[in-house]
């Protein structure tokens, strides 16, 4: 399937493709995250048979329905592939543990061999935070390693 990309100045980007069964579909990704999906007329690609407007979360739900891979599913398959690999989401407490300190301060890697792979702060994800990264209350920390290492890391993180 070939996807054509057209910039829409001031709005976002439009992607267009023809499905294997011959349907002509356009998807507009607006800068604010909204999506417009349009189904073009088979005879006349210049007119739309209908459009639907999706918010950011509508779009990700629809993507799940359509069989798109979401993060949890992908992590699950990763866990299956590597025997004994543990992945844990740790939410930082208000105080105590490593809250207010940097990742380097916890010496997680040297003492437990587990790794901090990512941090999710409010809605944005920070992949591969460095040792100088300072953790804040409410951050969600993604730790990977062996079962044992991850549970030890968890104790260091939340105290």
């Amino acid at each position: 399937m070939e996807i054509f990309e057209t910039p829409l100045p001031g709005i976002g980007v439009r992607y267009e493709f023809t499905s294997e069964l011959g349907d002509h579909v356009g998807v507009v990704i607006r800068r604010d995250g909204k999506r417009d999906v349009a189904l073009y007329d088979r005879q006349d690609p210049d007119s739309c048979r209908g459009t639907m407007e999706l918010t950011d979360s509508d779009a990700s739900k629809l993507a799940e329905l359509l069989g798109g891979t979401n993060i949890t599913a992908r992590l699950d398959s990763l866990r299956h592939m590597v025997e004994g690999l543990a992945i844990e989401w740790v939410t930082m407490p208000k105080t105590g543990g490593l809250t207010g300190q940097t990742i380097g301060d916890g010496h997680i890697r040297t003492t437990t061999s587990a790794s901090v792979v990512a941090v999710i702060r409010s809605d944005s994800g920070i992949p591969g935070p460095g040792p100088e990264f300072r953790l804040e209350p409410g951050d969600t920390v993604l730790v990977m390693g062996s079962e044992d290492a991850v549970s030890k890391a968890r104790i260091i993180l939340i105290g």
């Binding site: 057209t6 829409l8 210049d46």
Partner: protein, 408 residues
């Protein structure tokens, strides 16, 4: 104060009384705008023509009279122009401009020529000065990206195949405006030919430098302005905008162009955040700008220009249809899409008023203000209606292809 013409309250007596009158007047004006905005939304029309009408009704020589708050309105209108153009610039990234220039330059030139010439010719026929005629050319040239973008969204046409053509033409118009306004600003000062040429050279040089800065150093400027605090971000962006607009005005590049170029320069996260932060402020001051423009016009001056405005509107509606459908045909769009493209470019709005406002402020031609107001009133309303009905109006034979359209 809102009193029948002739009867005046003594507003100049004490300061506190004056302040109260100003506040009351502004309150009434904003409430009128709010009411009209609701009405516009209900009947599916853009709000610009209604705001203009409100200004006309409250303006010179009419039944109602605004005077205490006029000073604030004048400054508010200036701020409105700066915000309108700043946000327009923010809508586009330098990459959008490059892409637009690359793909639609020919259609853009044609659009420019076909839609300025009627305005200029019309001005000259009316016996206006060349500068005033050039301004009228600008009025007839600029489609309203505000109205058109809003309506494309309302009518769910973002995904349509012809939409990129419409948007790139609008981008081209905005780029042309960034060059057109400084030239006009210099011409309006009315110096000798040699002095004028030098001033135009300087102004265009500044615009060119600003373009280069916005292309090259966009991320540096954006980083310097950015702040996590909304308050600080708003203060820095507004401060920078007014400063740049003021300096641009002083250098005869025109405040509007300064703000537009600053908007282009800001990009990335700053642009995203400012785009959510500033629109309400722009809508308030933009509303004030349209009202103020209407206020400066005596409604009785409208009658004599009504017929010329109507003729000009019909001519330039056709030229827009022609250039729009030509551009769409060139992009491989079928007849119905071409027809929609042409109709979608008809609405004129904020930029026509900005251009006319320049001439009115400089006293270029007494009829320019009323004619532009009538013209925009007609085409903002008619253009929006035509855009809505585009799919129900049969495509005229001239647009239909003589041969079979290529199947994709």
């Amino acid at each position: 104060m809102f009193t029948p013409a002739g009867v005046h309250f003594a507003v100049d007596a004490a300061q506190p009384a004056h302040a109260s009158v100003v506040l009351i007047e502004l309150g009434i004006i904003l409430l009128v705008l709010a009411g009209l905005g609701r009405l516009a939304a209900r009947i599916g029309l853009p709000s610009v023509p209604l705001y203009l009408l409100a200004g006309l009704v409250m303006g010179k020589g009419s039944f109602f009279k605004v005077d205490a708050g006029e000073e604030f309105l004048a400054i508010g209108a200036q701020i409105g122009v700066v915000l309108l153009l700043l946000l327009l610039g923010l809508e586009y990234s330098p990459a959008d401009l490059k892409h637009g220039l690359k793909t639609t330059w020919l259609a853009g030139i044609l659009d420019g020529l076909a839609n300025t010439i009627p305005g200029i010719a019309f001005g000259l026929i009316l016996g206006w000065s060349p500068v005033a005629s050039l301004l009228l050319g600008g009025v007839t040239y600029m489609s309203s990206s505000g109205i058109i973008a809003r309506l494309l969204d309302d009518f769910d046409r973002y995904a349509n195949r012809e939409t990129p053509v419409i948007l790139s033409l609008l981008v081209m118009e905005d780029i042309v405006m960034a060059v057109f306004l400084p030239i006009v600003a210099v011409l309006l000062v009315g110096s000798s030919l040699a002095q004028g040429a030098i001033a135009v050279g300087i102004a265009l040089g500044l615009v060119a430098i600003a373009f280069i800065v916005s292309f090259r150093f966009s991320s540096h400027v954006s980083r310097a302005v950015h702040s996590r605090s909304r308050e600080l971000l708003l203060l820095s962006v507004l401060g920078l905008s007014f400063l740049v607009a003021g300096v641009a005005e002083a250098a005869q590049v025109s405040a509007a162009v300064g703000a537009f170029l600053l908007g282009l320069t800001l990009s990335g996260q700053v642009a995203d955040e400012v785009r959510t932060l500033l629109p309400p402020l722009r809508d308030v001051f933009g509303g004030i700008f349209f009202v103020f423009f209407g206020l400066t016009i005596d409604p009785r001056d409208l009658l004599p220009v009504l017929v010329p405005a109507l003729i000009l509107a019909v001519i330039t509606a056709f030229t827009k249809i022609a250039t729009g459908s030509w551009a769409a045909a060139r992009a491989g769009i079928g007849p119905r899409g071409r027809w929609r493209t042409g109709l979608s470019l008809i609405p004129r709005g904020e930029f026509s008023i900005v251009i006319a406002g320049l001439g009115v402020a400089a006293g270029a031609e007494s009829q320019l203000g009323p004619l532009a107001a009538a013209y925009v009133l007609i085409l903002a309303v008619v253009g929006s209606v035509l855009m809505r009905m585009a799919d129900r109006i049969p495509v005229p034979g001239i647009i239909k292809p003589r041969t079979q359209p290529p199947r994709p």
